[in-house]
Protein backbone atom coordinates (compact mmCIF):
# COMPACT_ATOMS: atom_id res chain seq x y z
CA UNK A 1 0.00 0.00 0.00
CA UNK A 2 1.21 3.49 -0.86
CA UNK A 3 0.25 6.74 0.78
CA UNK A 4 -1.52 9.24 -1.45
CA UNK A 5 -2.82 12.74 -1.08
CA UNK A 6 -6.15 13.28 -2.76
CA UNK A 7 -7.31 16.76 -3.59
CA UNK A 8 -11.00 17.14 -4.33
CA UNK A 9 -12.39 20.38 -5.66
CA UNK A 10 -16.14 20.91 -5.31
CA UNK A 11 -17.73 23.80 -7.22
CA UNK A 12 -21.28 25.06 -7.57
CA UNK A 13 -22.62 23.89 -10.91
CA UNK A 14 -22.18 26.40 -13.71
CA UNK A 15 -25.34 28.39 -14.31
CA UNK A 16 -26.59 28.02 -10.74
CA UNK A 17 -26.85 31.19 -8.70
CA UNK A 18 -23.77 31.43 -6.46
CA UNK A 19 -24.53 34.23 -3.97
CA UNK A 20 -21.19 33.81 -2.19
CA UNK A 21 -19.33 34.27 -5.47
CA UNK A 22 -21.36 37.39 -6.22
CA UNK A 23 -20.63 38.85 -2.78
CA UNK A 24 -16.87 38.32 -3.20
CA UNK A 25 -17.03 39.71 -6.73
CA UNK A 26 -18.68 42.92 -5.48
CA UNK A 27 -16.25 43.26 -2.59
CA UNK A 28 -13.27 42.90 -4.93
CA UNK A 29 -14.78 45.57 -7.18
CA UNK A 30 -15.19 47.87 -4.16
CA UNK A 31 -11.49 47.35 -3.34
CA UNK A 32 -10.54 48.62 -6.79
CA UNK A 33 -9.94 45.27 -8.51
CA UNK A 34 -11.94 46.50 -11.45
CA UNK A 35 -10.74 43.85 -13.89
CA UNK A 36 -12.60 41.07 -12.05
CA UNK A 37 -15.54 39.87 -14.13
CA UNK A 38 -16.73 36.78 -12.24
CA UNK A 39 -16.08 34.90 -8.99
CA UNK A 40 -17.37 31.54 -7.87
CA UNK A 41 -16.83 30.05 -4.46
CA UNK A 42 -16.39 26.32 -3.92
CA UNK A 43 -14.32 24.20 -1.58
CA UNK A 44 -11.24 22.03 -1.69
CA UNK A 45 -10.75 18.96 0.46
CA UNK A 46 -7.39 17.31 1.06
CA UNK A 47 -7.86 13.65 1.81
CA UNK A 48 -4.88 11.56 2.89
CA UNK A 49 -5.37 7.90 2.11
CA UNK A 50 -3.61 4.68 1.28
CA UNK A 51 -4.08 2.75 -1.92
CA UNK A 52 -2.54 0.32 -4.35
CA UNK A 53 -2.35 2.64 -7.34
CA UNK A 54 -3.27 6.12 -8.42
CA UNK A 55 -6.12 4.68 -10.46
CA UNK A 56 -7.52 2.78 -7.48
CA UNK A 57 -7.19 5.88 -5.24
CA UNK A 58 -9.00 8.04 -7.79
CA UNK A 59 -11.81 5.54 -7.93
CA UNK A 60 -12.14 5.58 -4.12
CA UNK A 61 -12.15 9.40 -4.11
CA UNK A 62 -14.86 9.41 -6.77
CA UNK A 63 -16.97 7.11 -4.62
CA UNK A 64 -16.46 9.45 -1.61
CA UNK A 65 -17.58 12.43 -3.70
CA UNK A 66 -20.66 10.66 -4.95
CA UNK A 67 -21.72 9.45 -1.51
CA UNK A 68 -20.86 12.42 0.71
CA UNK A 69 -18.39 15.06 -0.35
CA UNK A 70 -20.43 16.63 -3.18
CA UNK A 71 -24.16 16.91 -3.78
CA UNK A 72 -24.86 15.96 -7.40
CA UNK A 73 -27.95 18.19 -7.47
CA UNK A 74 -25.95 21.42 -7.34
CA UNK A 75 -22.24 20.63 -7.33
CA UNK A 76 -19.55 19.30 -9.67
CA UNK A 77 -16.30 17.83 -8.47
CA UNK A 78 -12.84 17.26 -9.86
CA UNK A 79 -10.32 14.84 -8.42
CA UNK A 80 -6.58 15.03 -8.24
CA UNK A 81 -4.40 12.42 -6.56
CA UNK A 82 -0.66 12.33 -6.13
CA UNK A 83 1.64 9.96 -4.34
CA UNK A 84 2.46 11.42 -0.94
CA UNK A 85 6.06 12.38 -0.25
CA UNK A 86 7.60 10.01 2.28
Amino acid sequence: MTRFLGRVRVMPRAGLLDPQGHAVEHALGALGFDTVSAVRVGRTLEIALEGESEQQVRSRLREMCERLVANPVTEDFTIDAVEAAT
Binding site: L17, P19, Q20, N71, V73
Partner: protein
Protein backbone atom coordinates in the same frame (compact mmCIF):
# COMPACT_ATOMS: atom_id res chain seq x y z
CA UNK B 1 -50.74 8.64 17.82
CA UNK B 2 -47.20 7.75 18.82
CA UNK B 3 -44.74 10.37 17.59
CA UNK B 4 -40.93 10.18 17.49
CA UNK B 5 -38.90 13.38 17.38
CA UNK B 6 -35.38 12.54 16.25
CA UNK B 7 -32.64 14.49 18.00
CA UNK B 8 -29.34 14.97 16.22
CA UNK B 9 -26.35 16.72 17.76
CA UNK B 10 -27.27 20.33 16.96
CA UNK B 11 -31.04 19.94 16.72
CA UNK B 12 -32.64 22.94 18.38
CA UNK B 13 -36.35 22.85 17.49
CA UNK B 14 -36.84 19.42 19.06
CA UNK B 15 -38.55 20.75 22.20
CA UNK B 16 -40.92 22.92 20.12
CA UNK B 17 -41.82 19.92 17.94
CA UNK B 18 -42.45 17.79 21.05
CA UNK B 19 -44.62 20.54 22.53
CA UNK B 20 -46.65 20.89 19.32
CA UNK B 21 -47.20 17.13 19.01
CA UNK B 22 -48.24 16.76 22.67
CA UNK B 23 -50.51 19.82 22.46
CA UNK B 24 -52.27 18.06 19.58
CA UNK B 25 -52.94 15.12 21.91
CA UNK B 26 -50.24 12.71 20.75
CA UNK B 27 -47.88 10.58 22.77
CA UNK B 28 -44.57 12.14 21.71
CA UNK B 29 -41.01 11.30 22.73
CA UNK B 30 -37.46 12.00 21.64
CA UNK B 31 -35.35 9.43 19.83
CA UNK B 32 -31.56 9.94 19.93
CA UNK B 33 -29.82 9.79 16.57
CA UNK B 34 -27.75 6.78 17.69
CA UNK B 35 -30.86 4.70 18.20
CA UNK B 36 -31.46 2.00 15.60
CA UNK B 37 -35.24 1.97 16.09
CA UNK B 38 -38.03 4.51 16.43
CA UNK B 39 -39.81 2.99 19.43
CA UNK B 40 -42.84 1.92 17.45
CA UNK B 41 -43.68 5.45 16.34
CA UNK B 42 -46.58 6.04 13.95
CA UNK B 43 -45.27 9.46 12.91
CA UNK B 44 -41.66 10.69 12.72
CA UNK B 45 -40.48 14.31 12.90
CA UNK B 46 -36.98 15.46 11.95
CA UNK B 47 -36.84 18.83 13.71
CA UNK B 48 -35.03 22.03 12.83
CA UNK B 49 -31.59 23.05 13.99
CA UNK B 50 -28.01 22.75 12.83
CA UNK B 51 -27.24 19.04 12.92
CA UNK B 52 -23.48 18.51 13.02
CA UNK B 53 -22.99 22.26 12.81
CA UNK B 54 -24.12 22.26 9.17
CA UNK B 55 -20.60 21.05 8.31
CA UNK B 56 -19.97 20.23 4.65
CA UNK B 57 -23.65 20.93 3.75
CA UNK B 58 -26.72 21.16 6.00
CA UNK B 59 -27.96 17.63 6.62
CA UNK B 60 -25.07 15.95 4.79
CA UNK B 61 -23.60 14.28 7.89
CA UNK B 62 -26.88 13.68 9.76
CA UNK B 63 -28.22 11.56 6.94
CA UNK B 64 -25.65 8.88 7.84
CA UNK B 65 -26.65 8.79 11.53
CA UNK B 66 -27.55 5.27 12.74
CA UNK B 67 -31.22 6.22 13.20
CA UNK B 68 -31.60 7.11 9.54
CA UNK B 69 -31.86 3.44 8.48
CA UNK B 70 -34.99 3.16 10.63
CA UNK B 71 -36.27 6.51 9.33
CA UNK B 72 -35.81 5.37 5.72
CA UNK B 73 -37.54 2.05 6.47
CA UNK B 74 -40.44 3.93 8.10
CA UNK B 75 -40.78 6.15 5.02
CA UNK B 76 -40.54 3.24 2.57
CA UNK B 77 -43.29 1.45 4.50
CA UNK B 78 -45.55 4.47 3.93
CA UNK B 79 -45.20 5.89 7.45
CA UNK B 80 -45.80 9.64 7.87
CA UNK B 81 -42.47 11.50 8.11
CA UNK B 82 -41.93 15.25 8.17
CA UNK B 83 -38.69 17.21 8.10
CA UNK B 84 -38.88 20.79 9.27
CA UNK B 85 -36.13 23.23 8.23
CA UNK B 86 -32.91 21.28 8.95
CA UNK B 87 -35.10 18.16 8.88
CA UNK B 88 -36.11 19.07 5.29
CA UNK B 89 -32.42 19.49 4.42
CA UNK B 90 -31.69 16.03 5.89
CA UNK B 91 -34.54 14.44 3.88
CA UNK B 92 -33.10 15.90 0.66
CA UNK B 93 -29.57 14.72 1.50
CA UNK B 94 -30.99 11.27 2.30
CA UNK B 95 -32.71 11.22 -1.13
CA UNK B 96 -36.11 10.75 0.49
CA UNK B 97 -37.07 13.98 -1.25
CA UNK B 98 -35.63 15.34 -4.51
CA UNK B 99 -33.58 18.53 -4.85
CA UNK B 100 -31.47 20.39 -2.34
CA UNK B 101 -31.64 23.44 -0.05
CA UNK B 102 -28.75 25.82 -0.61
CA UNK B 103 -27.57 29.19 0.68
CA UNK B 104 -30.24 31.92 0.64
CA UNK B 105 -30.01 34.11 -2.46
CA UNK B 106 -29.47 37.18 -0.27
CA UNK B 107 -26.84 35.34 1.84
CA UNK B 108 -28.41 36.64 5.07
CA UNK B 109 -29.95 34.37 7.69
CA UNK B 110 -33.68 35.12 7.43
CA UNK B 111 -35.73 34.96 10.63
CA UNK B 112 -39.25 36.38 10.35
CA UNK B 113 -42.87 35.38 9.82
CA UNK B 114 -43.80 34.56 6.23
CA UNK B 115 -47.00 33.69 4.42
CA UNK B 116 -47.23 30.35 2.64
CA UNK B 117 -50.07 28.84 0.65
CA UNK B 118 -51.14 25.23 1.18
CA UNK B 119 -51.00 23.68 -2.30
CA UNK B 120 -51.93 20.08 -1.47
CA UNK B 121 -54.12 18.39 1.12
CA UNK B 122 -53.01 14.94 -0.01
CA UNK B 123 -50.44 14.42 2.77
CA UNK B 124 -50.94 13.35 6.40
CA UNK B 125 -49.63 16.77 7.42
CA UNK B 126 -51.95 18.89 5.31
CA UNK B 127 -55.17 16.86 5.27
CA UNK B 128 -56.66 19.28 7.82
CA UNK B 129 -55.97 22.32 5.63
CA UNK B 130 -57.96 23.50 2.67
CA UNK B 131 -56.01 23.82 -0.56
CA UNK B 132 -55.39 27.49 -1.26
CA UNK B 133 -55.40 28.52 2.41
CA UNK B 134 -52.70 31.04 3.24
CA UNK B 135 -51.02 30.56 6.60
CA UNK B 136 -48.49 32.54 8.64
CA UNK B 137 -45.51 30.99 10.36
CA UNK B 138 -41.87 31.95 10.84
CA UNK B 139 -38.84 30.98 8.80
CA UNK B 140 -35.40 30.85 10.43
CA UNK B 141 -32.70 29.65 8.07
CA UNK B 142 -29.57 30.54 6.13
CA UNK B 143 -29.86 27.70 3.63
CA UNK B 144 -33.47 27.55 2.51
CA UNK B 145 -33.33 28.14 -1.21
CA UNK B 146 -34.88 25.08 -2.80
CA UNK B 147 -33.18 24.05 -6.04
CA UNK B 148 -33.72 21.16 -8.42
CA UNK B 149 -33.33 20.71 -12.16
CA UNK B 150 -36.17 21.84 -14.41
CA UNK B 151 -37.36 18.30 -15.12
CA UNK B 152 -37.68 17.59 -11.38
CA UNK B 153 -39.48 20.88 -10.76
CA UNK B 154 -41.91 20.14 -13.61
CA UNK B 155 -42.54 16.66 -12.25
CA UNK B 156 -43.21 18.01 -8.74
CA UNK B 157 -45.74 20.48 -10.13
CA UNK B 158 -47.40 17.90 -12.40
CA UNK B 159 -47.75 15.39 -9.57
CA UNK B 160 -49.08 18.04 -7.14
CA UNK B 161 -46.08 17.50 -4.89
CA UNK B 162 -45.42 21.16 -4.16
CA UNK B 163 -47.15 21.23 -0.78
CA UNK B 164 -46.38 24.81 0.35
CA UNK B 165 -45.43 27.89 -1.64
CA UNK B 166 -44.29 31.32 -0.44
CA UNK B 167 -46.73 34.09 -1.31
CA UNK B 168 -46.26 37.84 -1.00
CA UNK B 169 -42.47 37.55 -0.98
CA UNK B 170 -39.91 34.79 -1.33
CA UNK B 171 -37.48 34.96 1.63
CA UNK B 172 -34.63 32.93 0.12
CA UNK B 173 -34.85 32.83 -3.69
CA UNK B 174 -36.38 29.34 -3.67
CA UNK B 175 -37.13 28.05 -7.16
CA UNK B 176 -40.83 28.43 -8.06
CA UNK B 177 -41.37 29.89 -4.56
CA UNK B 178 -41.27 26.38 -3.11
CA UNK B 179 -41.52 26.23 0.70
CA UNK B 180 -42.40 22.55 1.01
CA UNK B 181 -42.68 19.37 -1.06
CA UNK B 182 -43.66 15.74 -0.59
CA UNK B 183 -42.60 12.31 -1.81
CA UNK B 184 -44.42 10.58 -4.63
CA UNK B 185 -46.52 8.65 -2.11
CA UNK B 186 -47.23 11.84 -0.15
CA UNK B 187 -46.21 10.37 3.20
CA UNK B 188 -42.86 12.20 3.38
CA UNK B 189 -43.05 15.99 3.62
CA UNK B 190 -40.31 18.62 3.89
CA UNK B 191 -41.13 22.18 4.93
CA UNK B 192 -38.75 25.09 5.42
CA UNK B 193 -40.92 27.36 7.66
CA UNK B 194 -41.65 26.33 11.25
CA UNK B 195 -45.24 25.14 11.93
CA UNK B 196 -44.19 24.07 15.46
CA UNK B 197 -43.57 27.74 16.25
CA UNK B 198 -47.13 28.63 15.26
CA UNK B 199 -49.31 26.50 17.51
CA UNK B 200 -50.34 28.93 20.27
CA UNK B 201 -51.87 32.40 20.16
CA UNK B 202 -49.09 33.72 22.36
CA UNK B 203 -46.60 32.78 19.61
CA UNK B 204 -48.42 35.07 17.17
CA UNK B 205 -50.09 32.37 15.08
CA UNK B 206 -51.92 29.08 15.45
CA UNK B 207 -51.76 28.33 11.73
CA UNK B 208 -49.37 25.43 12.34
CA UNK B 209 -51.78 23.53 14.57
CA UNK B 210 -53.66 21.59 11.82
CA UNK B 211 -50.35 20.13 10.60
CA UNK B 212 -49.90 18.29 13.89
CA UNK B 213 -53.28 16.55 13.62
CA UNK B 214 -51.53 13.92 11.46
CA UNK B 215 -54.92 13.20 9.92
CA UNK B 216 -55.39 10.44 7.37
CA UNK B 217 -55.56 11.61 3.79
CA UNK B 218 -59.15 11.44 2.65
CA UNK B 219 -60.07 13.39 -0.43
CA UNK B 220 -56.80 13.29 -2.33
CA UNK B 221 -55.85 16.26 -4.42
CA UNK B 222 -58.93 18.42 -4.81
Amino acid sequence: MKVAIVRFPGSNCDADALNAARAAGHEADYVWHRSTHLGGADVVILPGGFSYGDHLRPGAIARFSPVMSAVVAHAKAGGPLIGICNGFQILCEAHLLPGQLVRNAGLAFVCRPVTIRVESDATPFTARYTVGREVRMPVAHGDGRYVADEATLDRLEREHRVVFRYVGGNPNGSMRDIAGICSDEGNVVGIMPHPERAVEAILGSTDGTPLFAFAPVTAGVS
